[in-house]
């Protein structure tokens, strides 16, 4: 492309935007959206009705849930972000994308990664860290594709014809820069096999890094890019000016600076040092106003277009999306208050909170954008306004059912967990009693999901017919844009000037997100050096480690926590509060985020081996009302002893105190320990010969080790 000669030569020129790439990403959004919703529906059904696990390893809840979250966030969310970014940026900067090759590399690379996830997650290749489950080859692929995206994007900025960057672009830049940082730092891991690795961080460090990542995946994957999209598509669709430029500036910078600190609110009342918890809480509270700044700017931009709210389904979707954004970002800070969190954490309230954001804010904004883009890209009108309206109402009803049932479920279960009678004992000591109470609500949630998906099917049909009926064979239209000109000397002052200096803008942004990251994470990296040396923590035996990896593979962590919080009802139910020492060799940490089943931090020694064996093969034999999936295949799959030397040597390299002998005898030691457990089972039931050397033996070893590895107990003990 020719550089516009300084000022006086060409005043305008004709270019073509690359809309093909936008179309591709739209197709991908719709395709993966359907997949993500269907998988979500299956997961919802499995909790209501356990036989829906179908006793197929690759379809059990523990493997399906990560597939659902990854598909919803990165496949559905990711593709619409890319569609919107490529579409709006070209127009905001009056230039074609920097490189069609890079755009296409980005598109196909991303889809391949999704396919990789679709295959590996159900097979159980998982990192065991939420929303970062993909194993190391895919982690590398994500980094490569993301960097390609970044190069393409900053290239586009470099060749722009509009000097000042519009607020949507600030948010896109924030997304690209921060996601790179989050992904790279959280994914530092050492491979032990083609699809198996251990993170370099352990225990509390891993917890902090993971939730710094996890929380900011919400922030910089589901919030900032969508705010950017909002800033383009809302004023476009409503044909109104942005309510307040000053508000844009203030809420943008406060949002990106504050968000990055809030991660520890996922670890409140845990063993994480108090100061980090306090930071997580107060920054979450301070995040309320910056978030609402975005909502205010969005809703007040729609002001004056209120009449369209009745007539134009696109405006309806956008307005409701922004409203849900406002609700979620109010609820978030609320849930970050330690006392509120003590009730809500580990319950379905959090699941409701997430879906208010994802279904309401991300989902409805996406639908509005699709309905806005499809007729424009294909040069036609949407086939049916009525179907769009139906989609809106069915979808909204679906979200409300989801949200309300999960609130009710979370608060009910949270209150039951914490109820202590006058005699100082738990009122509902039996965990499964608290599960039975909420199962009906799981059906309501499922119904909500069905409605949401039904609405989406209307979108698919509507879009399909629209495209099928669109005029064919028309060439893309050229647009007239001002020639590039470098001699704009008056680029303004203050923030206005910064908007014209893309490099400095990006650097400042990077510093803004780096500050909180460093202050929170770096001190914990050395934390284990400062722990009192009074207690010695034993590393896992090779067999226990094998069991632990199976635990991660099966996704037990999506239902079970391993963190007894510093709360009296946690201590009464599960035993002394968990300490930092107990997880100091845990790679990855498994503190968990939801208790669909009871905490397992001290399950070691609680039951005999035979109990676990029978419970794993069929939980209903032990707990008739259990909703835990059955794992009969664990008693059939053989343990892979051969990989253990490699696993231990990686662990040793990472600083776990194994000696050379431990490493070189890892397989033998594991076999010996397995034989002891097996013999014990056999004496009780001679028909159990087939469980010899099977994975369930390793799981039993791991279960029995939980809470038994260190003498360092929490400050409080239960009455036991």
């Amino acid at each position: 492309m020719s550089e516009g000669r300084a000022g006086n030569a060409a005043i305008s020129e004709k270019i073509y935007y690359d809309d093909e790439i936008v179309k591709k990403f739209i197709y991908a959004t719709i395709f993966w959206g359907a997949a993500a919703f269907i998988v979500g529906l299956l997961a919802a059904l499995q909790l209501a009705y356990w036989p829906a696990n179908l006793e197929l390893p690759w379809l059990t809840f523990g493997r399906i849930r990560p597939l659902h979250t990854n598909a919803a966030i990165f496949a559905f969310g990711g593709n619409i972000i890319f569609a919107g970014i490529y579409h709006s940026t070209q127009r905001l900067l009056k230039t074609r994308n920097f490189s069609d090759f890079l755009s296409n590399f980005h598109f196909w690379g991303w889809q391949l990664i999704i396919v990789g996830a679709l295959i590996t997650l159900p097979l159980g290749y998982s990192h065991g860290k939420e929303y970062a489950e993909l194993e190391w080859p895919l982690d590398i692929a994500i980094a490569v594709v993301w960097v390609v995206f970044a190069v393409n994007y900053f290239g586009t900025i470099a060749i722009r014809r509009v000097r000042h960057l519009y607020v949507a672009i600030w948010f896109y830049i924030a997304t690209i820069v921060t996601v790179t940082l989050l992904h790279v730092v959280n994914s530092i891991e050492i491979p032990v096999a083609m699809l198996k690795s251990y993170p370099v961080y352990a225990g509390v460090q891993d917890a902090l890094v993971q939730w710094w990542y996890g929380h900011n995946a919400v922030a910089f994957f589901l919030t900032t890019p969508f705010l950017g999209l909002m800033y383009y598509y809302v004023p476009k669709a409503a044909n109104r000016p942005i309510y307040s430029y000053r508000l844009s500036i203030v809420h943008f910078w406060s949002l990106v600076f504050i968000y990055i600190w809030a991660g520890p609110h996922h670890l409140l009342n845990s063993a994480l040092p108090d100061w980090a918890q306090t930071l997580g809480m107060i920054f979450s509270l301070m995040l309320w106003a910056p978030s609402w700044g975005g909502m205010i700017n969005g809703l007040l931009t729609l002001r004056g277009a209120w009449t369209k709210l009745r007539t134009d389904p696109i405006i309806k979707f956008l307005a409701v999306a922004i409203t849900f954004y406002g609700m979620s970002t109010f609820e978030g800070p609320l849930l970050s208050i330690k006392s509120v969190n003590s009730l809500a954490h580990y319950t379905d309230w959090i699941i409701g909170h997430v879906h208010g954001g994802t279904l309401g804010w991300n989902g409805f904004l996406t639908f509005g954008i699709i309905y806005y883009l499809v007729p424009r890209l294909w040069n036609t009108n949407m086939y049916s306004q009525r179907l769009m309206n139906w989609h809106f109402w069915i979808g909204l009803l679906g979200i409300l059912l989801y949200y309300i049932s999960m609130w009710a479920s979370g608060i009910t279960q949270g209150l039951m967990w914490r109820a202590i009678g006058e005699n100082g004992q738990l009122v509902y000591p039996d965990f499964v009693e608290t599960v039975m109470r909420i199962v009906p609500l799981y059906y309501v949630r499922f119904a909500g999901g069905v409605l949401f998906l039904a609405g989406f099917l209307l979108l698919i049909y509507n879009v399909w017919i629209t495209i099928a009926r669109a005029p064919r064979g028309e060439k893309a239209m050229a647009v007239e844009v001002p020639a590039r000109s470098r001699d704009v000397t008056d680029i303004g002052t203050g923030h206005r000037k910064l908007e014209a200096l893309s490099v400095i803008f990006t650097v400042l942004l990077f510093l803004a997100v780096l500050a909180g990251s460093i202050i929170e994470i770096v001190p914990t990296l050395a934390i284990y050096k400062y722990l009192p040396q009074t207690a010695k923590t034993e590393p896992y035996t090779p067999l226990e480690l094998t069991g632990r990896d199976i635990y991660i593979k099966e996704g037990c962590y999506v239902c079970h926590s391993q963190m007894i919080r510093k709360l009296p009802y946690d201590v009464l139910r599960y035993g002394a509060n968990s300490t930092l020492e107990e997880s100091m060799y845990d790679r990855p940490f498994q503190w968990g985020s939801k208790r669909t089943g009871p905490d397992l931090a001290r399950v070691g020694g609680k039951y005999p081996d035979m109990w676990h064996l029978r419970h794993m093969i069929d939980p209903r034999v032990i707990t008739p009302k259990s909703i835990m999936p059955a794992y009969p295949w664990l008693a059939a799959e053989k343990i892979d002893y051969n990989i253990l030397r490699k696993k231990l040597s990686v662990m040793k390299m990472l600083g776990v105190p194994y000696n050379d002998e431990d490493v070189s005898n890892a397989d033998i030691n594991a076999e010996k320990q397995a034989a002891v457990i097996y013999e014990g089972l056999l004496t009780q039931d001679p028909s159990l010969e087939s469980v010899k050397d099977t994975e369930v033996i390793a799981i039993i070893a791991y279960m029995q080790s939980l809470g038994k590895k260190t003498s360092q107990q929490g400050v409080a003990t239960s009455n036991k």
């Binding site: 942005i242 309510y243 107060i282 301070m286 006058e422 004992q425 738990l426 039951y607 034999v621 707990t623």
Partner: protein
Amino acid sequence: MPDKEKLIEDHEYDGIRELDNPLPGWWLMTFYITVIFAVIYFGYYQLFGGPTLDEELSAEMSSIKAEQEKTEEAGELKTQEDYLALVSNPDAIAKGKAEFMTKCMPCHGDKGQGIIGPNLTDDYWIQGDGSIPAILKVMNEGVPDKGMPPWKGVIPADLEEDVAAYVYSIHGTNPPGAKAPQGQMIERR
């Protein structure tokens, strides 16, 4: 849009204009209040000696323990004779059985015949003498090393005697598939 709102000149991006509205006052106020709260909260808990989570937990646990002890003291020690009325009370036995079916059945079997845990219907006892106080004691304290969990606090206090009475009542029922005897032979008085 109301008249007093002003479009900013030069701010035009693909047809999108921007207004020069000030930050809403109530919004700014919210922001300030959260910041001030944050500073005070951090100061109190992290700098000026507010209680740590450990301290709060210890305090709460000791008041709970006090309550537990109070209720334990209140219940005076009972003897086998005091309990016998329960064994002939069908209501108590029914309640005890229901609880047994959810809590004890996985290990002792639906008829007390024994699976992982020992047969509870025979004359052989590993722990105690098979009297109701003895059953209560094993039940509450468990034998953790041998795989019998402690049930204190897990089984509601008003049900534990019913469960023990139920276990006592199934003695001699000779259920099918009973586990081989374990422990000492102790004949019932």
